[in-house]
């Protein structure tokens, strides 16, 4: 190893050597520390060197499990853009510190770097604790801490059928959930008598256990792992438990807690706690005043080692403060302890604990609400004088955002009202208005109610996103967003600011409200809607480019139910359509159109392929295969569209609605018919779905796919609704998206029969059409939908609003009413009359639509469009 002595720096131009700060560890807390340093200007005159053991910069370990649902390591990164370069921070990946010499003030790294420091900061985090069980190092045993760990687990799980997770805490349950989702029979082994023993009490633990068991996970509490026996090849075969039983398994994940990584500190003689943790003072200084320790490796003045990120962030700020203030006398921030309240969603179950969750205070009393049927358990710990001390919430943690800030005060209503479900409570539920200004609403960023109100009153924020940017509230774990929204709205209202949610300048109603009005009153002309329900000043007018297509889309979605013609070029509706819908084709940049015939499921006969090829050749069109398994024909003039479609309709093609906010395609893999892995006929299902929902107008385009097995070759999880075959049926995923804001779809229901699948999609689509905003894709809609995925499930799976019958009836009417728009148009001479370049010269093609060669095909000639005006020379007989 080549030792490099890096002592100098060129940061200063006046010749004085800059100070050097070395940070060991680039995890979440390390990165936050760098940001805090930069915010205080320390990086401007101090050389900052970071040693990181992992092969990638800091990432969001809290969201680690989302790696299994498709979040990429890059998406998990905590380092924004060019942050490090901008502040001149040197980051060495894959190069952990191996020794600290406090006398020489140097750090030595594994790759042989020797770096002299003026200030040293340890943010080494913690390591997973693996109980000393014989066989714990066999292939097939894993820990759950880094992206590399998860990659190894994912790799192994692909060949496994059973997995055991040792440890029933937060990470253990996440790991178990991930294995379960990958299709493994999953066991959880917990030494304590209940799951999540640190956070929840016995009642909460059993509510959690019931819900988790109902998902098919196998829970073993009060037992520990004793030995792991292996197969002949040395890999994990079986785990033996302390009660004498054993579980046959292909893999074991240890998730039995973490321990502070303090070895480096021990070796260089820094004071460490009896049970680990680098001792620090209120400013996060270790026993050496030039060495700091922050995050999970530090043992703070209250004797705690915090394993949560929020206290780590606080320590990062405190240490940065102390370092920035070095040499000055100003008193910086201090760290004396932290709130360990948590709210989590584990395997879809809300779990929260706050304050004195276990009721350790003297003479405290419990108020408990428990409904095992619904899997809900809530407990509040109260002092004798009525002060709220803490609590545990399992299955329904809705009130966490309110209860945590109330902790330490006497709530303004009786405690039983705080735990009873809404509706059962004799008095109206407590709102955020009841909170004092000092109440901390965002625990991650320590933002009080007063600061949020000030953002509205003093900083003129008028929306939740603006308040988020201004105060950072709600940009951490997100658990306070709902309360934040209520506070912001209440404050805006108090300021007399009304937020105009209207669709456009013509309508004060939202799209959703217009939908309800149109359906309830059976309105089917734009004039009825605008003159009866538009803003006063817009009534009698022409509407605008926003509301006309939006209303046209609602008419089309509801056509049979409101007595409208489902044909979008019908007289009353033709004027409302966006230009693409008006010409049933997609306008491209030079005013020419592209044509996309429907190819259901991507399945097409050679004869039909030949027809498409012949049409493209005869009309000189540019052809390209689309991402949705069909063929796009570009470069048609408006007057060519009817002739092109006459040929396509004759060959049996229908409109592909590529021009509409409507169902586009249902993509499929080849499925069980041909593929050796396929478990269902995905092509048939894709065709059935595409034919069922073709022509369905919606707030935005709809894309779908069907995969014939879990390999997911059709990429169904990136679609508005995606279907993945299972051995016993179909899994339905919803609200996925590709494009600029990718979102993995959420599982709505599992192992559905054909009929169940179609019924659920019917409901889902109609509920989306009913409630989404204009041009709001399903992915954005779900994020906005109050109650999110749970609410969506309640509505479309459990029919909690009692509207499913109506949704199904609307879809049935759409299916029965479908007609091919292009077949209808080419049979209507009056409509065809609109497909001309010039109404006063129908035979004259638009001379500005011209093409030049490109890679054996053609492309638009844009040079012809650059001049101020193009004279037409082909107009025969014209004279002045």
């Amino acid at each position: 190893m080549a030792a490099t002595d890096i002592t100098g720096s060129d940061k200063r131009t006046d010749g004085t050597p800059a100070r050097t700060l070395v940070l060991i560890g680039h995890g979440m807390v390390g990165q936050r520390f760098l940001e805090e340093l930069a915010a205080r200007g320390v990086t401007e005159d101090t050389r900052v060197v970071v040693l990181c053991e992992e092969p990638r910069p800091a990432y969001d370990r809290v969201q680690l499990t989302s790696y299994f649902s498709g979040t990429s390591p890059e998406e998990l990164s905590m380092v924004e853009g060019d942050f490090l370069a901008r502040h001149g921070i040197e980051l060495h990946l894959d190069d952990p510190a191996v020794a600290v010499d406090r006398e020489a003030r140097t750090v030595t790294s594994r790759q042989g770097r020797v770096i002299r420091y003026d200030t040293l900061v340890l943010a080494t985090g913690s390591y997973p604790f693996v109980p000393p069980v014989p066989g714990k190092d066999s292939p097939g045993c894993f820990v759950y801490r880094t992206i590399e760990d998860l990659k190894a687990i994912e790799d192994w799980a692909g060949r496994a059928t059973t997995g055991v997770v040792v440890g029933g805490g937060l990470l253990g349950l996440e790991a178990a959930g991930a294995l379960n989702k990958m299709g493994l029979t999953t066991h959880i082994v917990e030494f304590q008598p209940r799951l999540m023993a640190i956070q929840v009490d016995e009642g909460g633990g059993s509510a959690l256990r019931r819900t988790i068991e109902s998902m098919g996970l196998l829970v073993h509490t009060g037992v520990g792992g004793q030995e792991i026996s292996t197969a002949e090849d040395g890999t994990v075969r079986r785990i033996h438990l302390s009660d004498g039983s054993s579980i046959d398994t292909d893999m074991v994940i240890f998730s039995a807690g973490v321990r502070p990584r303090d070895q480096l500190a021990r070796e260089c003689g820094l004071a460490v706690g009896e049970r680990g943790g680098i001792m620090v003072d209120e400013q996060c200084r270790t026993s050496d005043p030039d060495v700091f320790a922050i995050g999970e490796c530090a043992k703070t003045v209250d004797g705690m080692v915090y394993g949560l990120v929020a206290p780590g962030y606080d320590m990062a700020a405190v240490a940065a403060d102390a370092i920035a203030a070095a040499g000055t006398t100003g008193a910086g921030a201090t760290f004396t302890g932290a709130d360990t309240s948590t709210k989590l969603k584990l395997l879809g179950v809300d779990v929260a604990s706050f304050g004195d969750a276990h009721g350790t205070a003297e003479d405290c009393l419990d108020v408990v609400y428990s409904d095992s049927r619904a899997g809900v358990y809530k407990k509040l710990v109260m002092a004798k004088d009525g002060t709220l001390l803490g609590g545990v919430l399992v299955g329904d943690a809705e009130s966490y955002g309110l209860l945590r800030p109330l902790t330490g005060s006497v709530p303004p209503v009786a405690p039983e009202q705080l735990v009873l479900p809404a509706g059962l409570s004799p008095a109206p539920a407590l709102g955020p208005a009841a909170l004092p200004d000092e109440a901390v609403i965002c625990n991650c960023h320590n933002v009080t109610k007063g600061a949020i109100r000030a953002a509205v009153t003093d900083h003129q924020c008028t929306s939740v996103p603006e308040v988020k940017t201004c105060t950072k509230a709600g940009s951490g774990c997100g658990s306070c967003v709902k309360v934040l929204g209520q506070l912001v709205n209440a404050e805006l209202e108090a300021q007399g600011i009304t937020v105009d949610k209207g669709l456009c300048g013509c309508f004060g109603h939202t799209r959703q409200e217009l939908y309800e009005i149109i359906l309830a009153l059976r309105l089917n002309t734009f004039e009825q809607v605008l003159d009866g329900h538009g803003r006063q000043e817009a009534r009698g007018g022409d509407g605008c480019e926003i509301c006309k297509p939006a209303v046209a889309s609602i008419f089309a979605s509801l056509a049979p139910a409101i007595g409208a013609d489902g044909y979008v070029l019908d007289d009353a509706q033709a004027a409302l359509q966006d230009t693409n819908d008006h010409f049933l084709a997609n306008m491209q940049r030079n005013g020419s159109y592209s044509v996309v015939p429907r190819i259901p499921g991507g399945e097409i006969t050679p004869e039909k392929l030949i027809v498409i090829g012949e049409v493209a050749r005869d009309f000189g069109l540019y052809t390209k295969i689309t991402g949705g398994q069909r063929i796009d024909l570009f470069g048609a003039r408006v007057d060519q569209l009817p002739q092109i479609w006459a040929r396509l309709v004759e060959a049996g093609f229908e409109s592909g609605h590529a021009y509409g906010k409507a169902l586009r395609t249902v993509k499929s893999c080849v499925g069980s018919t041909w593929c050796r892995y396929g478990v269902q006929d995905s092509v048939r299902m894709a065709i059935d779905l595409e034919l069922r929902y073709r022509g369905l107008r919606s707030p935005h385009k709809l894309k779908s796919a069907v995969s014939g097995c879990a390999r997911e070759c059709a990429e169904a999880q990136g679609k508005d609704f995606g279907v993945i075959a299972t051995a016993s049926g179909w899994n339905l995923y919803v609200c996925g998206n590709g494009g600029a804001t990718p979102r993995h779809a959420d599982l709505l229901a599992q192992d559905l029969s054909d009929a169940e699948l179609i019924r659920l999609i019917d409901r889902f689509l109609m509920f989306y059409i009913r409630t989404a905003d204009r041009l709001e894709r399903t992915s954005v809609w779900l994020e906005r939908l109050e109650g999110g995925l749970d609410h969506l499930k309640d509505v479309v799976v459990h029919d909690s609003l009692g509207i499913c019958e109506e949704l199904e009836a609307l879809m049935a009417a759409h299916v029965a009413n479908y007609r091919d728009e292009w077949a209808e148009t080419i049979n209507d001479p009056e409509k065809l009359g609109r497909f001309v370049s010039f109404v006063n010269a129908p035979g004259t093609p638009d001379p500005t639509v011209r093409f030049v060669p490109e890679r054996d095909q053609m492309k638009p000639d844009l040079t012809i469009l650059s001049g101020p005006e193009i004279p037409v020379r082909t107009l025969e007989g014209s004279s002045r």
Partner: protein, 135 residues
């Protein structure tokens, strides 16, 4: 349909100018002024659909977009979208804001006033406005 030949023939017979487009008779033809008080017939009024436009060819190969509003007013502007250079404004959506009619380009959606040709979204851009009448 009006042919290009008819178009030229009709333009030779100038009529009195109609300054109130809203009073357009239902059965007439639409004429556009193209140069020095010369008028050219471009289409029948019945060729127009309220709330939409059509493209017409003017003598010398210029293109215009003719719109009919819900109130029965006819407006004619140049057909070229200055943002993209494409001759597409006739295929845009018509709307009104504060009682004044506009068309939104079908390509990048900028709005142009039908009465003075100003772009409502970019004061730097405008399109020509042609006087018109129905006879």
């Amino acid at each position: 349909m009006t042919t290009a030949t008819q178009l030229a023939a009709q333009s030779a017979a100038p009529q009195s100018r109609n300054d109130d487009p809203a009073a357009a008779p239902e059965g007439g033809v639409v004429q556009v002024e193209y140069a020095d008080g010369g008028w050219v017939t471009v289409c029948r009024r019945s060729d127009l659909l309220p709330g939409r436009g059509v493209a017409v060819l003017l003598p010398e190969g210029r293109q215009a977009a003719v719109f009919l509003t819900r109130a029965g007013e006819i407006h004619v502007i140049g057909n070229r979208d200055p943002f993209t250079g494409a001759y597409v404004l006739s295929r845009g959506l018509l709307g009104s804001a504060g009682g004044a009619p506009f068309v939104a380009s079908p390509l990048l959606k900028q709005r142009f006033s039908l009465t003075d040709g100003r772009c409502l979204d970019d004061p730097e851009q405008s399109v020509p406005v042609h006087p018109c009448r129905v006879v």
